[in-house]
């Protein structure tokens, strides 16, 4: 049940996130994109079953979140409001982006995993590829369970950065390295 919801998000929301962030960077550059993305995901969670076109919904939700926050500001930049009207609704070209599946997505996963610090990568690999429980990962690596839990938390965030499109997708490959790590993984 829960897993179905997670897969729905993975298949429908995550692939649209980079485009939504790019749009936010253009029209709402003085807003914290992470903040808006979180609001959008909350709206998705609440209205998931009613949504027909997820991509269009995400852009509309991002826009209304920005407008909400604009209204709370003392000074409003006119340009921002004008730009907000140019909502890129789901176009034909975007369907390929919407289906970030198969090889492309695997390349992304591969890059995300390769980018993790060694210990963190081992933990995520054993947990996800080998299907070990966190407890068994701890036993296998000779680390405490709380350390494993910390690696899992850090690893999820780091991988989420890749799905957000923060690291250049065009230089994916065995040698792909993030050019700007926003944060280190302990």
């Amino acid at each position: 049940m829960d897993r179905d919801i997670d897969l729905w998000f993975a298949q429908n929301a995550l692939p649209n996130e980079p485009a939504m962030r790019r749009w936010l960077g253009k029209v709402a550059s003085d807003f914290d994109a992470d903040d808006i993305v979180q609001e959008v995901y909350a709206k998705l969670a609440r209205h998931r079953t009613e949504i027909v076109n997820v991509r269009a919904y995400m852009f509309a939700a991002a826009r209304s979140t920005v407008i909400d926050q604009l209204q709370k500001r003392q000074v409003v930049n006119i340009v921002t409001v004008a730009d907000l009207e140019t909502l890129p609704v789901a176009d034909e070209k975007s369907s390929s982006e919407q289906e970030l599946i198969g090889r492309e997505e695997l390349a992304l996963l591969q890059a995300a995993i390769a980018d993790l610090p060694e210990q963190c990568r081992k933990v995520l690999t054993l947990r996800k590829l080998n299907g070990l429980s966190q407890r068994d990962v701890a036993a296998t690596l000779g680390l405490s369970e709380s350390t494993i839990e910390k690696h899992v938390a850090a690893g999820i965030r780091r991988c989420a950065d890749w799905f957000a499109g923060r690291f250049a997708a065009e230089d994916l490959g065995p040698a792909a390295m993030p050019r700007h790590n926003r944060r280190g993984v302990r």
């Binding site: 829960d2 897993r3 919801i5 997670d6 897969l7 998000f9 993975a10 929301a13 995550l14 914290d32 992470d34 903040d35 993305v37 979180q38 609001e39 959008v40 995901y41 909350a42 709206k43 998705l44 969670a45 609440r46 599946i101 198969g102 090889r103 997505e105 695997l106 996963l109 591969q110 995993i113 995520l124 690999t125 054993l126 947990r127 996800k128 590829l129 080998n130 299907g131 070990l132 429980s133 966190q134 407890r135 068994d136 990962v137 036993a139 296998t140 369970e145 494993i148 839990e149 910390k150 899992v152 938390a153 850090a154 999820i156 965030r157 991988c159 989420a160 799905f163 944060r183």
Partner: protein
């Protein structure tokens, strides 16, 4: 209510909660704390759901292999490449080997399924491992007396932890496969037959009122079902290569060694939304197919076979491929 925390801090908390839940079921107090945290601010819910999606996405790691760059391999080089892929898989298995003991948390009776193209690995509470192939569903019902798995549809591979007093029983239609400690796979994807392939130990296969058939390592039993159910099951001694081939899906691969083009396309269609169809005249023109392919690489497969056999590939707007003769 909006908390004063930054999006980054919220994400950090969401990741901690997710990692905690992944470690063990939350205690009652923790659960209450978590529920309160989620209710406190929409962004908490949003950050949490987003990370859950990323975490679920990581399940697809199983499809990653060092050899993924060589998605299409010419038939003549199959064995060489296949061996290196198998070696990589073995390392993964060895890494895992030390870990399957001392699992304490019991698993409630549960349904698990895989989407098309998904392969999923379940680590059971007794140390057994169930690997589910594409488009499959299993129901797990463990009790003190037996470990029952119902294969509703699809295909599974079972690596069973030894426990003589608690047999491990896979149910598929009217057939049961009973093991005490062994490794085998059950393929229930065809309406007319059920296939049990054993890679280690012995299993007993019971079908309707028949005497049980015993299948040991390196054997494949084919049980006729549906309209064919009165036919006699066929037991075949398999080579290591043949068994590997049956189990290649566990490594995200399809192995062909002389299938017809139509049969190979049908195998691909099990794993992908994008379907391949082969026109009758193309099927007639094509020779037998050999090679190792990634289960998701529909396009690579279609193009490689078309190029090898002098056929054409066209694609409709949904990405479905049609293989035809050029003329």
């Amino acid at each position: 209510m909006r908390s004063a925390l930054s999006a980054q801090d919220i994400e950090k908390l969401a990741a901690s909660w997710l990692a905690r839940q992944d470690a063990a079921a939350l205690s009652e107090a923790e659960q209450a704390e978590f529920d309160a945290w989620i209710a406190e601010d929409d962004r908490h819910l949003g950050a949490y759901m987003r990370l859950r999606a990323v975490w679920a996405r990581l399940d697809r790691l199983g499809a990653l292999r060092p050899s993924s760059a060589e998605a299409v391999i010419k038939p003549s080089t199959v064995l060489l490449h296949w061996r290196s892929a198998a070696a990589a898989a073995m390392v993964a298995v060895m890494l895992a080997g030390g870990g399957y003991y001392g699992l304490k948390r019991p698993e409630a009776p549960k349904t698990y399924d895989t989407a098309i193209g998904e392969v999923r690995r379940l680590a059971m509470e007794d140390g057994s491992v169930v690997e589910m192939n594409t488009n499959s569903e299993v129901n797990v019902a463990y009790s003190d007396r037996s470990r029952d798995i119902y294969l509703a549809h699809g295909e599974g591979n079972f690596t069973v932890a030894k426990n003589k007093s608690r047999p491990f029983i896979v149910h598929a239609g009217d057939t049961t496969v009973t093991a005490v400690g062994t490794a085998f796979s059950v393929d229930a994807t065809r309406p007319d037959q059920l296939r049990v392939a054993v890679s280690e130990g012995t299993v007993a296969v019971r079908h309707g009122n028949r005497e049980p058939a015993y299948v040991t390592a390196m054997q494949v039993l084919t049980v006729p079902t549906g309209e064919q159910k009165e036919e006699t099951p066929q037991l075949v001694v398999a080579t290591a290569e043949q068994l590997d081939k049956h189990l290649a899906w566990r490594k995200g691969m399809l192995v062909f060694s002389g299938e017809s083009l139509s049969e190979a396309a049908a195998q691909f269609n099990r794993y992908n939304q994008r379907q391949i169809s082969v026109t009758p005249r193309a099927a007639a023109a094509a020779a037998r197919v050999g090679g190792v392919f990634q289960t998701r690489d529909v396009e690579g497969f279609a193009r490689a076979t078309a190029a090898s056999f002098g056929l054409t590939v066209s694609q409709d707007k949904n990405g479905n491929m049609v293989i035809d003769t050029g003329s």
